[in-house]
Subunit: 447 residues, 2 copies
Amino acid sequence: MTIAFDAPFEIDTRPAILDQFVTDETGRPGSRPRGVAYAAGLDEVLAVVGWARETRTPLIARGAGTSLEGHVLARGDELILDLSQADSILHLSAADFTATVQPGVTRTRLNAAAAEIGMQFTVDPGADASLGGMAATNASGTTSVRYGGMRTNVVALQAVFADGRAMRIGRAVRKSSSGYDLKDLLIGSAGTLAIITELTVRLHPIPEYLRSLRISFPTVRSAVAAAVDMLGLALPVSRLEFADAASMAAVNGFRGTGYPEAPALFIDLEAASDAAAASDEREIQRICLACGATEIDLARTHTERHALWEDRHRLFFALKARSPGHRFLVTDTAVPYSHIADAVDTATRLGAELGLDISAAGHIGDGNVHVVVPYTDESLPAAQRFSHAMVQHALDVGGTATGEHGIGLAKKQYLRAEHGDAVDVMAAIKRALDPYGLLNPGKILDP
Amino acid sequence: MTIAFDAPFEIDTRPAILDQFVTDETGRPGSRPRGVAYAAGLDEVLAVVGWARETRTPLIARGAGTSLEGHVLARGDELILDLSQADSILHLSAADFTATVQPGVTRTRLNAAAAEIGMQFTVDPGADASLGGMAATNASGTTSVRYGGMRTNVVALQAVFADGRAMRIGRAVRKSSSGYDLKDLLIGSAGTLAIITELTVRLHPIPEYLRSLRISFPTVRSAVAAAVDMLGLALPVSRLEFADAASMAAVNGFRGTGYPEAPALFIDLEAASDAAAASDEREIQRICLACGATEIDLARTHTERHALWEDRHRLFFALKARSPGHRFLVTDTAVPYSHIADAVDTATRLGAELGLDISAAGHIGDGNVHVVVPYTDESLPAAQRFSHAMVQHALDVGGTATGEHGIGLAKKQYLRAEHGDAVDVMAAIKRALDPYGLLNPGKILDP
């Protein structure tokens, strides 16, 4: 470990180490950062922020590095504050349905600990992200249709602000109307307003009765109609995932399955009794058949359920295997329910026009369908045109450029198109809380 | 209507009119405001805010005036901006599960309109509040255990800021990770950061199958244990209300019912099929009996359900009838589940010590039990000591001074005890967005 600068803590500046921080999961490289400091707890974060404030050194807080939008990439001479070693689970309470953790704890580790008291942490973005990073990007995922994303599931924070003070943000209760909602302001702010040093999150009981279904449909529109009908009858679905025909073909190719290569829904339903689960499962089948479903696969045992969801969870690997030698761009728009089918149709049409072998899959209950776009150096401009057109479609129909990945660096160009003058309000808040622009400068907002 | 000042809109300054704005539902009077301006839409709000900015006139936006914490009371020479005539329902979408309304629309009017498309707006604070006011105070109520409060149910806003600009805040999608969460910052800010001129809210399907139960318990602790067990099994309860023995006695006295005068739960459960409802109802009975329940009353028909909930909804009238000639203070603390029974025991003990005829009832699934304290001029100091001790108990166990009523004027003294230095962050945001302190000055924060 090299001690560089005149800092009261260690900063690693070895090139081989710094090179590990040049990328995240976006695939595009940032700059080599100025150095890396590691913090395992509040005192160390306070020391780093205090020094950064004195020396006017910009900081990028980093957890597991699984951002898909460049949130933790350096643009110049930032110091990386690596929080992956701040990974203690501080408290689990079955009585209060809460867990308090340090920001470097990953969601799978928290879930393993929660399972021992019969509980689960429900936000599942796919990657084994750190909880601090998930809060910083307002992550969500397959279960958000029932349990919400990070804003719903984080009840209180501790954070260090640019003025060097650590503060408790919010209280670990189910609801409060006391003061301004700083907790939700920090969630999704990508470390640009404060550095999260502790989180208290909601745990949920592990459901007693679960059923899973995979259902094939003749068209995208009929699959969407069935999904919206289930929501319209308030059926207790905890996952409601869409996969298009290209996705299902990739699964068959990768997993050796023989599924219809047609639009499909993957569904989990949860119930408090077996009778309720059976009744709800019948209701889902009725809705799907009324919408024209061509095949319904029921998974009732743990083994059957696991196999069904493995196929869905490994979809991205299946798509990668189908396009060897490619890199992958993943869109993240979310639109109102009435525009989901249009969004998928638009993607299919644009893919054909631009010669891209795209596929669409995602969280239909949130209006958040991801399109996976394989590209090479040659087809990068076409992939970028595709991404831009999808964002434009979403914004045109009242949607958002990013349902769950965040703005980071990659979606900054759309911030004003989506929010108009409200960007000025965001910038005023940034200036008020971080006047020297020390915290993750240039992310979300221009510096 | 008197035109006063040199304003490009009408300002009513007739004393008899101004006197109508001296109180809200707190029972304690504010000052007589400087005047009242009425706005039926955005253009009029822009005119008033523009003039207020030029003339440095403080403004208090007001909806239905049902605040319980003094949010809309004048302290000096503020101008009231009455939005109760901005009461158009602009759009209802069954396809997108949303409604867009002006801020003066009340929740019962929205619900009547939503019912025509088979939907409901689920936030129910009791009073027929305006949706703008409910957003400004982050209201919630009996159904929040399942559907959440205003932060969960408002998806987008239009608001006018102190700089005179109208902005769109958020997009009407189920989720977004784009930019800072200004929507949730404005919700609960009591008109101190911006004036809400339009809201898009979530609608939910009206459940097909509903069952209601009233269950008596030997002790507060056994009732709380049963409630937490239901949540621990993820039973689909949409209302989970507690009433103590004194509350049940008041209901008997007022409604002529013969209920056990013992702690009780009032429960709604919702299901997507009759079989699921029956199964969940059996599970609730099993839990309650295991916790020692002494009487279970099932309401299955609409008439039975209506009668059961009328008893709960009229509880405040029953308590008023029991203490004629009194005024009433209502506490609003929320605590972690593991401290609910302690909070009720503390209230009972304090009531006896201070000679107050208190009763406790409320939203046990949110840890938010209200204590109703009848008082006279003579016993006002005792009632205030009671309220203070309940807030102190909540803060001591990690809870909040206000679960759903807000800070307003009445709970300002507890803001720093609850939030510590984070109050400085709130004040920095207030200064950044309203540097002249024109928007509801002195509410939540000191001016």
